[in-house]
Structure formats: C-alpha cells, structure tokens
C-alpha cells in the first residue's frame, strides 16, 4: 500500500531501459580535456521497473479525475482528453526555426487564438509568448514601464497593489523594477476609493487588480476607479486569474483595463501539470500594441508572419514563441466551448460558488454576505471555541477524499478558506462536498482532537516542515550522507 522507493533505490548495475540505433558514423572522439571526469550516477533500470515506479509514485497524488478539487484562485476545472490528443498531433511538433512558409498551420492557430482571446477580453492585441501567469504579469508591467518612459514620463516608479492581491502581483512589480504601494481594502476586499485617491499621483505608473477580487467580489466601482487612475496618468493592469466568472458576461477591456494576462491553465482548461507548463497570454489596448514582446505573430493578407524585431517592443522574453504545446490545448478548448457556451461557464461557476456559500454559512464564518462570483472565502469555522483551525479542517478533508480549498489566502482574514467549485462540477458532487464540510464542522465541536490530528488515510501524516527547512536535504545523495 505504501510505496516508498526512489528511482535511485531500484535497479541493478548494467540494467538498461532504452534502445538506440547502432551508429555507423566512424571514429569521432572527444578529446580528454573536454570530457566529464566524474562518474555519472543515474538509475540503471529496465523499462518496466521505471514504468511501475512512476505508476506507483502517481498513486500518491490527488488529481481532478479522482475527486473534487475546489482550490480557490486556481480554477481546477476538467481537463478534456481531446486537448491532449490535439497537442500530440505529429504536425505540431516541428522545429522552431522551420521557415514561416513551412509553419503556416501553427502560426494560423497562434493567430486565431490571439483573436479569440481578444474578442473574449475586450483587449485589442495579444501575445501568447509568456510562459505562465506571473510571466504575463512581468511582461504587462514592462509594457507599462516602457509606455511611460517613451513619453518622457520617468517619475512613475510605483505600482498600486491592493492588499487582497495574489502574491505574484507585488513580486512581479519588483522584478519589473517598480516599487509596490499597498492600498488597504474595504471589508469585502474591494478597493477603497478614498484611499486610492490619496495615493494616486504623478509617481504612480498604474494599478494591478483582479476583478472579481480574491474574495470573489465584483468591484462594482470599477468604472470610477478606471477613470481616477487614468486621470492621474496611470494604467490599469488586470490579473486574469479570476476571469472564469466573467466569460461572455463582461470584459476587462470594457471595464477600462489597458493590459491583462490570462491563465490558460485555469480558465481554458489546459492542465495545471502539477505546477506547469501553463501559459500567460498578455493582451493590451491598441495604443500599446507596439510594445508587445517579439517575436509576434501577425497576419498579412492571407499569410501569417513572424515579426522578430521591433524597436518599440519591450523586447524578447522567451527563447522562442512560448509554450506552443499549451496554446494548442487552449485553442482546442476555445473551439470546443465556442460562442454558445462561454456564458454558461461564468454562470455555472458562479451558481456553484453561491450554492456552497449559502449551504455552509451556518457552519463556517462568512465574513461577506453579498453575492459572490466564482469563488468566496470563509474565515474558518463559525464556532471557534474548540480552537480547531483552518489548517486542521483542510487536513481532515483529506480523509474524505476531497482536495482542500486554498488556505490562509487572502491575507485579509486570519483563517481564510477559499473555495472555488468551477462549472464542470455537478450538483451531486457539490452536495457531497457540502455534507463532508458539515461533518468536519461537527467533528470540530464534538471531537476536536480527531480533527487536529488529521489526516489518517493518506500515505503520509502531517509533516515536520520546519525540519525540512532547518536541515535541507534536496537530493538523493544528501540522504546517503546521513
């Protein structure tokens, strides 16, 4: 039941798991002074040993196809099988230096994806080069910076980031060479317009927002905020992590955002892959389009071209054209859903979230009563008399075969439990989750120790995380040194 080997602990000297053609090129040898001197201690396993090992390792993971995965802010929706099939088509696995005349299919796919994202978001032009959401944020902020600099407006060194924002926002601002200014949120995580007015000035390059915010609340003053920021000479950046409940309903571009990124591994179902590869396409209003990174895919008459240099551009941010294999899956999902169903994604993700919220608010503390979008946040258990924490609740959920919600984020509440149920989950699945959540809340009162010591049914129990940081063992050879 409990598989506990690493690949380095398997196999025998001399065993192999591969076959290569015999080479007949002749006698070419590396000279000694260029050669590796150390032995190479890599596994010596048969193919079956390797396959069985990784199959057993996989059993120690929880995936979407096993059960409910309401991880807030991560949009863990079903990852359609057809996406995988499409990305495996041989004709998409060409060399990146294949001439454009011989790559028209992929360039067309890239271009069409840009156009669809543009229509859905209300931003005029897109690049698909960024590798992930955080990479998209960085690209967006570089665009913001260059835009101001090119106008001779070099004093704008600060970016406003609400305290409810994802951690990547202030981190990306730093990497782009900005200082972040935090503005406190209202009780519901929305931007406090009065506070915003106080910090706006000629040193502000722009603001980073996600709407709905990380509490799942739509910023209803968004048009006023956009006007204030624009009047002060700043730009608005939209963090697309929470785009799911807006599809077909309302577009960031129409709200006044100038730049945004989309997490295609969230909203458009290309899988998360255990932490990538994703992609973070960036869209801009037309007046910023020349700033987009190169290479850019453009259409000239009926021909698709790659623009590799452009002095106005922020420059190159990836070796080639981004995670194209992921873009193929994005396009596959966009075509599968199509015009008819985008709006249903936003509706059903919102319906599911509100249904859970209303069903559990007698058991968990609901700090914000209003209608939410695709996700919402409880501030821990309603009855905290037994000192059972959000961490304990999360660990107990593991015993019931549910992936826990995001915990301790956003930072606004002490015991945040952030639930995002996504549109692809049925009422039965959600009712089952609600019952489990109620059971755990009851257990927390009746038998708090039971919850505090959870989980019991997992391959490992609670871990000593402090020990891992105090004495880092980060490779197999570190274990042998013990």
């Amino acid at each position: 039941m409990y598989y506990d080997k690493t690949i380095f602990e398997l196999g025998r000297k001399g065993r192999v798991g591969y076959s290569l053609p015999k080479e007949d090129f002749g006698n070419y040898e590396l000279s000694d002074d260029l050669k590796r001197k150390e032995a190479l201690d890599l596994p010596e396993v048969s193919e079956l040993e390797a396959v069985r090992h990784y199959t057993n390792v996989s059993f120690k993971n929880f995936g979407i196809e096993k059960g409910f995965y309401p991880l807030g802010s991560c949009t863990m929706k079903y990852n359609p099988k057809i996406n995988q099939d499409m990305s495996a088509i041989e004709g998409f696995h060409i060399h990146p230096y294949q001439p454009v005349n011989a790559s028209q299919g992929l360039l067309e796919l890239y271009y069409e994806t840009q156009r669809i994202l543009s229509e859905l978001s209300g931003l005029d032009e897109f690049t698909l080069n960024p590798y992930a959401g955080a990479h998209g944020e960085l690209v967006g902020l570089m665009i913001m910076k260059k835009y101001h600099h090119d106008r001779g407006d070099v004093k704008r060194t600060k970016v406003i980031v609400p305290d409810s924002a994802h951690g990547t926002n202030p981190a990306s601002a730093s990497v782009a060479g900005f200082e972040s200014v935090e503005v406190k949120s209202n009780f519901d995580g929305t931007v406090n317009v009065e506070d915003l007015k106080k910090v706006l000035g000629d040193d502000i390059a722009g603001i980073m927002m996600t709407n709905p915010n990380t509490l799942g609340i739509f910023e209803k003053d968004i048009c006023e905020i956009a006007k204030l920021v624009h009047d002060a000479g700043g730009l608005l950046y939209y963090d697309g992590a929470n785009l799911n409940p807006l599809l077909g309903q309302v577009r960031p571009g129409d709200m006044g955002f100038d730049i945004m990124h989309i997490n295609v591994h969230k909203t458009f179902s290309t899988p998360h892959g255990g932490g990538g590869p994703g992609a973070g396409p960036v869209g801009v209003k037309s007046y910023l389009s020349e700033y987009l990174p190169v290479p850019r895919v453009k259409k000239e008459n009926d021909h698709f071209v790659l623009e590799t240099t452009n002095d106005a551009s922020i420059g190159q941010i990836s070796h080639f054209y981004g995670n194209i294999g992921v873009i193929v899956k994005t396009y596959s999902f966009l075509l599968s859903v199509g015009k008819e169903y985008f709006k249903d994604i936003s509706k059903f993700s919102t319906l599911n979230a509100n249904y859970i919220k209303e069903s559990l608010k007698d058991y968990y503390k609901l700090p914000i009563e209003s209608v939410c979008k695709h996700e919402f946040v409880f501030d821990g258990l309603k009855d905290k008399s037994t000192h059972v924490t959000t961490l304990d609740v999360a660990k107990r959920l593991l015993d019931y075969d549910v992936h826990p919600p995001t915990i301790y984020f956003p930072l606004i509440f002490k015991e945040s439990l952030m639930i995002e149920p996504v549109e692809s989950e049925s009422k039965q699945t959600i009712d089952n989750f609600i019952e489990i959540m109620k059971t755990v809340a009851k257990e927390a009162i009746e038998d708090p120790e039971l919850v505090k010591n959870a989980p019991y049914n997992t391959v490992v129990k609670r871990l000593d995380e402090a020990e891992a940081a105090r004495n880092p063992k980060v490779k197999f050879k570190d274990l042998q040194d013990d």
Partner: protein, 442 residues
C-alpha cells in the same frame, strides 16, 4: 446541454432556491448594466469530430521535415514510455503540491529531478524547474545582482543571441548594465574578460557549447574572476553534461540552461524546461520551488516544498523572484527520460549526436562551395560559410523534405553566408548523405 457542463434545469432550480434568488442573472446584478452582455465574435462550438478535422487541417499546413538545425532546440529521440506516464491524471491534472499529504507523487518526482540535475551538473542544489534556458539565465543574473549588490554583468558574445536578447530585456527593467566580452575565432576572448573584470561586476555569463557549437574551455574562469568577487554563471545544455566537463568541476556558482535535450519533443519551441542549480552557499538566493525531505509524525520519510520564505506567495514584493507555475510536468518528463536512458543511454544519445554532427561536417566540408568557419571542436552544431545564396539553399532543401541549417545573417548582418548545421542521434547516415547530395548540386 454541453458535455463539460452537468447542470440540468432541475439542478439549477434547486440551487437558485437555496441561494434565494429567482434567476441566474440575479447573480450578476452588481455588475454595471452598461458593461453587461458585450458582443464578441468567436467561432461556434465544435464537436470532437469537427475539432479534429480543423486541427488536422492546420497540422497539414506545417511541412513535416527532417531537421538539420539545432541552435538551441534539438531533435532528440523521445522514448515511448514518457507520454503515458506524464499523461496520468494524477500528474497531469494536479496543481502545485501545497498539500504535501496528497501530493507526494509530484513532490517525489521533483526530488528525483533535483537529484538528477545535481548529478549531471555536479552542483549542490537544483530548483524544481524554470520556464526555459533563456529565462533561467536571466534569473541567474538577478541572483548575482542581488547577492553581490552590484549592477554590472559581463556576458560573452558567443552565447545564443536569443538568450542574449532575453537577458537584455530583463536587465533593462532592473537597471542592470550588460557589458559584452568579445568573441575571437568563435571563442570567448578570455583576455578581454581579464581586462574587463573588476570589483563592479556582479557576475559573468558564459555558454558552452556556445552558439556556434564550439566546446569552450572555461576551467580558468573561476580563478580569473574570484578576486573581483563576481559570480560565475554558466549556460549549458543539460544532456551534454553526461559527456562534457561539469560546471561543478569548473567552480561555477550558478549553472543554468536548457533541458529540452533530455528527450522533450520540439513542439515549435515550447514547452521546454530550464534548469538552475547552484552551490549550498547560494541556495537561499535561488528562485522557484525546491523540494526537500522530512519525516511525518510517524517518522516516515516524506517530501515537502521547502525554503518557501524565498517565494512570492510568502514574501510578496521582497521575494527572490515572481515565478509561480513553471514547467513541473516537463521536470517529470526529463526525470523519466533520465531514468530509462539512465547511466549509459544519455551518454550514448549525446555521443551519437556528436558523431552524427562530425560526420555531417566532414561530408559538407568536402563540398567546394562550403568551408568550415572555426577550427575548434564542436558538439551538436557546426558553422559553415558559403558563397551560395541562403534562400536558394533553404528552398532546395525544403523541396527534398529537409529543414536546412540556420542562416546566421538573421541575427547578425556581418555573418552573411554563414550556416549553422546540426545533427542528433535521430539522423541516419543515409539522411546526412542525402542532405550532402542536395547541397552538392547547387
């Protein structure tokens, strides 16, 4: 009804009742009316059959060619075991292992990946992956600047121009000044490095094999830059380290590069995977995720993300990097590749590529219109110059189903007529002979 959306009208009715609203539209009531219901022009919903038809139609517009180009992306063989393993839903559909008790699978392969990267590089510690080799190099540059608190970085003119362009972009926004070390006979001019090194230099970025395929000897670099307290950053192809001198043996401080060469398909440039490994001393300055070993409360060995205080979700604007999702599933692909290819297979694939490229060079070298540009030994790329027109060559090869060499004039106008060829273990002698035959009659 739509296959990804399970709600029946009865479900909807019951759920709305529980929520206490009369319609779905009421759930969007706080959105300003003027913003609602935008018009957007997108294709209509495709059934599986229609989607496949469309995708195959697009795929057919890409010619299937036999590549004789590398220049940063190499056509190595991908063993069949890899795809079914990385497509297991347990790996494919999970997210970042924030709940270690149900993510031991992801955490374990990250640990194994880190073990393989450190074994190949001879470095102390590796992170869990970077986006690609170019951005990994940029992150290494940031590490040097942050550690040494100096804003100048030296970079060799022999590195891949795309990596250089990415470095230039990243440097510009952080006010880092990039200074260039001259190239001489296809090699980094180490005298020029000696002249430019000073206490103001945070780090020195070099690459071997370099853009022209040449294996550079950097064993004296550490000594040359030590007094200036500059960090030695070396970009390498991870698979090449199975046979070439390791960064660990050369005193490299930050070892980075592309790991696509460990069996990842070409995929028109991505997804690939960058690696970043360093010394114990610099471990806490690393970007990205790191997995470590610990015990659970019953004393069992377990894996967990560690040193997270460096990362954006904890440190926000003070984090070492903004990186969050990166290339985890590719780390698994690389790990499976290194497992089945193992101790001897990676070397064999790399040496066969070396031999294929040398055979190609010998044959092309016999042609009257082609001359090898540099004399130093090369690895999987080799540079020739010709008086023939580059476009004529490209077109003639395309006609024969061959993707020819990269014309360097695309990067540098002074390199007109220079062509960068490459061959891997996937190329047969017959294919190379065919290439040579087409070139011969031009």
């Amino acid at each position: 009804m739509f296959k990804y959306l399970p709600h029946t009208s009865e479900d909807i009715k019951e759920m709305l009742e529980t929520i206490g609203v009369s319609s779905m539209d009421e759930l969007f009531r706080e959105i300003p009316e003027a913003l609602m219901n935008p018009s957007y022009d997108v294709p209509s919903s495709h059934s599986e059959l229609e989607l496949k038809r469309r995708m195959n139609e697009l795929a057919k517009k890409n010619l299937e060619l036999i590549p004789f180009v590398g220049a940063g992306a190499y056509d190595h063989y991908t063993p069949s075991v890899i795809r079914p393993i990385i497509e297991r839903q347990e790996f494919l559909t999970a997210y970042t292992p924030y709940q270690p008790e149900i993510s031991q699978g992801t955490l374990q392969y990250i640990f194994e990946y880190q073990s393989m990267v450190t074994e190949l590089t001879g470095m102390d510690v590796s992170n869990a992956s970077m986006y690609d080799g170019a951005t990994a190099t940029a992150e290494a540059m940031f590490m040097a600047v942050a550690t040494r608190k100096k804003q100048k970085v030296l970079v060799s003119k022999t590195i891949n121009p795309n990596i250089l362009r990415v470095l230039e972009t990243y440097a510009k926004y952080r006010d880092i000044e990039l200074l260039y070390i001259a190239e001489k006979d296809g090699l980094t001019d180490l005298d020029d490095l000696q002249n430019q090194i000073s206490k103001d230099i945070a780090g020195v970025i070099l690459q071997t094999p370099n853009f022209y395929g040449i294996i550079e000897d950097f064993s004296s670099v550490k000594e040359r830059i030590e007094d200036a307290k500059s960090l030695f950053i070396l970009n390498q192809d991870l698979a090449s380290l199975s046979v070439l001198k390791t960064p660990g043996s050369m005193g490299v401080d930050i070892s980075v590069g592309e790991a696509q060469t460990l069996g990842l398909p070409l995929s028109y440039g991505g997804p690939y995977i960058g690696y970043l490994a360093t010394t114990k001393k610099l471990m806490r300055k690393m970007p990205g995720r790191i997995c470590g070993v610990t015990k659970d409360k019953d004393g069992k060995r377990a894996f967990v993300l560690t040193l997270q205080a460096r990362e954006q979700h904890i440190r926000r604007d003070k984090a070492n990097s903004n990186i969050c999702s990166n290339q985890s599933l590719l780390a698994l692909a690389v790990t499976v590749y290194a497992s089945v290819m193992g101790k001897t297979g990676i070397k064999e694939a790399q040496m066969n590529s070396y031999k294929a490229t040398h055979y190609l060079a010998e044959q092309v070298g016999k042609l009257k219109n082609f001359r090898k540009v540099y004399q130093a030994d090369f690895f999987k790329d080799v540079l020739f110059e010709t008086n023939l027109d580059e476009q004529v060559i490209e077109d003639a090869l395309l006609k024969e189903g061959i993707l020819g060499p990269l014309a360097l004039v695309k990067f540098d106008p002074t390199r007109k007529g220079q062509l960068l060829f490459s061959a891997t273990e996937k190329r047969s002698k017959k294919e190379i002979d065919h290439l040579v035959k087409v070139l011969e009659v031009l």
